[in-house]
Amino acid sequence: MEQHLTYEAAYNELRAIAADIETGSVPVDILAEKVKRAAVLIEFCQQKLRSTEAEVTNIIKQMEQHNAGGK
């Protein structure tokens, strides 16, 4: 996976691929490649979302423990 891929970039690429496939402008020869790429991007975005969610949840959990403990 690319080192510096961001969620935003990944998402935008994904949308472009989807549009390409929808319009049928993707040659059959590279379709599989494109789909493979989409799979990779989706995977990346999902992981990014999962990690962000986990992180946020963690922070909130910590804060709540703090609040509960500090009260």
Binding site: R15, I21, C45, E53, M63
Partner: protein, 479 residues
């Protein structure tokens, strides 16, 4: 000589008496007449006088008759003198009730039975009014009349607050003077007086000039008398006419020292009384008046003393009260002020405490709201992104399906076309291929009757020789 025989005098007088009695017996008459030839026999109490009627405005006598009063008549005269203050004497004009009788010895006699005091009083009053009228008209500069009151220079003088130095006009060392002096000297208040007597006759109209002279004497001494007192001392309770004279009225009215009278007149005031400063009835009354005047002054002085005492005490108590009021005001206000400050301080204390706590509370709430916002939103955001991602994944899947369908149908189309176009399918439908010299030809020109051609059909090849040739225009299959 008379031819009638003489009769006795007594017969005659009897007959006169008889005749007069016939007419006058039991009759009385009220007549107005002047008195002359008056004489009085004190032992018998008989009054002898003549009643005369004078011609109007002259001294000519129209009628005259001798009269006598005794017994009841004498008593009436005494009453008359007492009531009118007029001495029964020559020259007075009276209304008398008389009876007429004849006495053998004394002849015709008019007996006075009664005398009308009111008639004389009326006359005297007329005289007095005439004098007063003359005083008013002839001395307007120091005698005026206001209502019933006569305003004279004398009675407009202001009495000194204290009457102490006195000039007393009186007849000798009379009882009236003694009464006056005794009353003054023995006053119960211990007041002391300086009394200078000026004796003169105070009876008889003709003495008016003497009395006037005494008043002038008083004035001329230059002594600062507080008042001049005119008193009529004792004697007969009659003959006040001197005090109704024009001369004395005028003198008293213009006299520069206040005059107090004590003439002893029982009835009306005399002209002098009306002109004087302070008329009193008797010498004793005059003295009492003076004492009362001084007493009034002393009372006023003592009242002032009382006023000063009471007001001083009131002043003390008022001052004392206002001091206490100020005192309690200061005390209360100081306390009020302190307690108000305490309350305010308490108020600020509460404000600081409560407000600070509420500030902290609201800051807590604010923070809680903001942190709630910060913490709830990311989860939603992530969920939203996940949705997006899922949508796009689903899209890609479905788009692929469509994509392959399209591509498959494209290929199928071509496949169909080519199947239709292949020579095998053409030959099946009855068409044939014509070969000449091993080559397919569509040109009939090179084929002549007798040419050898091969005709290829669906499932066989025919070697043939052309036997005939008919030209067709070849338009039968144009579409």
């Amino acid at each position: 000589m008379s031819n009638t025989p003489p009769i006795r005098l007594s017969d005659l007088t009897n007959r006169i008496q008889q005749a007069i009695n016939n007419v006058f017996a039991g009759q009385t008459y009220w007549i107005i007449a002047d008195i002359t030839n008056y004489s009085y026999y004190q032992q018998k109490g008989y009054h002898y006088f003549d009643l005369v009627e004078k011609q109007e405005g002259t001294a000519g006598i129209i009628a005259k008759v001798a009269a006598v009063a005794w017994g009841a008549g004498a008593d009436k005269i005494k009453d008359f003198e007492r009531i009118t203050g007029q001495v029964f004497q020559n020259g007075i004009n009276v209304l008398v009730k008389v009876s007429v009788n004849y006495h053998n010895q004394y002849g015709l006699q008019i007996t006075v039975l009664d005398i009308d005091a009111n008639f004389t009083i009326g006359l005297l009053e007329q005289q007095k009014q005439a004098v007063l009228a003359r005083l008013l008209t002839e001395n307007p500069e120091f005698i005026q009349k206001a209502g019933d009151q006569y305003l004279t220079r004398n009675n407009r003088l202001v009495l000194n607050r204290v009457i102490q130095q006195l000039a007393v006009v009186s007849s000798g060392n009379s009882a009236g003077y003694q009464d006056f002096k005794h009353t003054l000297d023995n006053n119960r208040f211990g007041y002391r007086f300086i009394i200078h007597p000026y004796f003169t006759a105070v009876q008889g109209e003709e003495k008016a000039e003497l009395l006037q002279q005494r008043l002038i004497d008083i004035f001329n001494t230059g002594t600062p008398y507080d008042a001049v007192v005119i008193i009529r001392g004792g004697g007969a309770q009659t003959d006040f006419l001197i005090f109704d004279t024009y001369r004395l009225g005028k003198t008293v009215a213009r006299f520069p020292i206040p005059i107090i009278t004590g003439i002893g007149h029982q009835k009306n005031e005399t002209v002098v009384d009306l002109m004087a400063h302070s008329p009193t009835k008797t010498p004793t009354k005059a003295a009492e008046f003076i004492i009362a005047h001084n007493k009034a002054f002393e009372d006023e002085v003592i009242n002032l003393q009382k006023t000063i005492l009471i007001k001083s005490q009131q002043l003390f108590s008022a001052r004392s009260q206002s001091l206490s009021a100020l005192n309690s005001m200061i005390v209360n206000q100081a306390r009020t002020m302190l307690s108000r400050h305490k309350d305010q301080l308490q108020g600020y204390n509460q404000t600081v405490i409560n407000t600070t706590q509420s500030i902290l509370l609201s800051k807590h709430r604010e923070l809680l709201a903001v942190s709630g916002q910060v913490l709830s939103k990311p989860t939603i955001l992530v969920a939203h992104k996940r949705n997006e991602l899922e949508n796009i994944t689903a899209n890609i899947t479905s788009f692929n399906r469509m994509y392959f369908q399209n591509k498959h149908s494209e290929l199928e189309h071509h496949k169909t076309v080519f199947r239709l176009m292949s020579p095998a399918s053409i030959l099946k439908r009855g068409f044939a291929l014509v070969y000449q010299d091993g080559k397919v030809t569509a040109n009939p020109d090179t084929i002549k009757p007798g040419s050898n051609i091969q005709v290829v059909l669906n499932s066989a090849t025919l070697n043939a020789t052309v036997t005939a040739k008919n030209e067709t225009n070849g338009t039968a299959f144009d579409i």
